[in-house]
Subunit: 346 residues, 2 copies
Amino acid sequence: MSENTPKRTDVNELGEFGLIEHLTKGYKTVQKSTLTGVGDDGAILDHDGLLTVVSTDLLVEGIHFDLMYVPLKHLGYKSVIVNLSDICAMNAIPKQITMSIALSNRFSVEAMEEFYKGVYAACNEYGVDLVGGDTTSSTKGLIISVTALGVVDAEHVSYRYGAKKGDIICVTGDLGAAYLGLQILEREKQLYVDNPDIKPDLEEQDYLIRRQLKPEARTDIINELRKADLIPTSMIDVSDGLASDLKHILTQSKVGANLEEVHIPIRQEAELMAIKFKLDPVTTALSGGEDYELLFTIDPKDFEKIKFMADVKIIGEITDEKDGYNLISSQGNIHPVTAQGWKHLQ
Amino acid sequence: MSENTPKRTDVNELGEFGLIEHLTKGYKTVQKSTLTGVGDDGAILDHDGLLTVVSTDLLVEGIHFDLMYVPLKHLGYKSVIVNLSDICAMNAIPKQITMSIALSNRFSVEAMEEFYKGVYAACNEYGVDLVGGDTTSSTKGLIISVTALGVVDAEHVSYRYGAKKGDIICVTGDLGAAYLGLQILEREKQLYVDNPDIKPDLEEQDYLIRRQLKPEARTDIINELRKADLIPTSMIDVSDGLASDLKHILTQSKVGANLEEVHIPIRQEAELMAIKFKLDPVTTALSGGEDYELLFTIDPKDFEKIKFMADVKIIGEITDEKDGYNLISSQGNIHPVTAQGWKHLQ
């Protein structure tokens, strides 16, 4: 086998982010139109001042989703959303997607129709066009690859770098609910596997389960920022968890941060369910992932513009790099944040 | 399981092209910038007259490649090339790619380094930038998803539709060799599986094996067409086989074709090896696939421009739709062509 080389380093030693960093380290782009390549939510290509943002994701059954409890229609919807969210994270408006699927022969045409109903529902909801893709067989399960394209003017684009000391850290919506929805679904799956006669008890947790199965991309926030004439100094979407995603901004901006524990937005349903699962609600919000909210920093001079945006919460402040990455508890204690995101390579 | 619906149609009843056609039938795009969506080699997006071409492919271990005989470096190279070839097929120049991989834990970091050596070699050879991607785990094998982006002026783009009665059918390079290279590799794999002590006998068939393992994208032809001020009336790349790929042009252009058997370009190595494998060389050239040559039609008034292009062969003529799709043998006999491409869904 060609992959048998003398030295063998397990990919788990590097992890998901580590591997791609390792493989792309030192790589230099050559095209004049390539403004940003690997290392942000999307690549930025310049077409005479109008920027095209490109983002791509690969979703593998058994790693990223479990068809025991994810309806195919929801899966189709979510596959699109996670990519639109990456486009939003560059402060761009998504316009087109391509959708490629590889499927084993256990999937029927009708199953794929369900999946595409979800794809079209997302395209319709966000005014995005499906423009291409590829359909092929797989030796096992369903594999989904989506590429999204968006546009943004050169002056509006937000990168992961750009946060400055004193900037205000903002996040949209609330955090941790999608992770708790997943815990409920996983628990009911386990009970079902142990006893198929049992009825799933979703505890009327519509909100938590919807956050897991049917997330949304915050194009509304991008439009609101545009209307308020406010350009974030840095931005990312919360896919791996606040702790990990903010860490990307800090690393690329070479700054530190203080997060205020009391200001981290957690819905009451999420708080109660976290406790029920014997989880700390704040840790869940910090490390849960899959919220697909926008996390961004703004210059303090723009405070007046953000103040009245109903779904944007101020959760902390950017500091000097040497001051580290901390969570300030309600009692005023300082806890260093470890960015343990939601890693798929385990 | 969510895919258990009352009616169950096996995807094989529709086949690879049929499934994607079925799932996208009746779909209408809404974005002004979407010029062409699903149904050609790439989608075309308009950015104020400069068109962006987007193409994407999903390659699955055990379906599209076999690591028993494909070195990872070659696989990385080829994964890029097949997408660049799709960009060329729209008469565009490739500029950027994204590369996503899902891998099982049998792959080491060193194995992935080999794969990326091939990716970078292709990027370097074609002056294309790697601008993004995703790395994740798979439950089985290696899965590769590449999206390529290219640019073309509005007046130069070539679609699959556009061929007119009387147009000259051209193809670049030679056909069938990649398929025969695959046959040699498959044969040696079988012998190895039966007796691991046996030495592979590649019969010094460097050309055939290179055509299979290290294909190239014909950006040189795109540049030559540009220099000659020649815009094909339709174009596609030969990935599934001449018979099947020309059929796409005929269907979308609503025309027929006569192919001249004697003019179909087959290298002597390919002819001899086909005979050795008890295959008809012309059938191999028609149905082999993976040649990644360009197949295009030109207006007869452009004949003078094409005549002296060394690597372009005239292989037939576009006819009325009602006259069908035929191969004219060296004896002048007319054989209807059945477009049996290289289907992955079998």
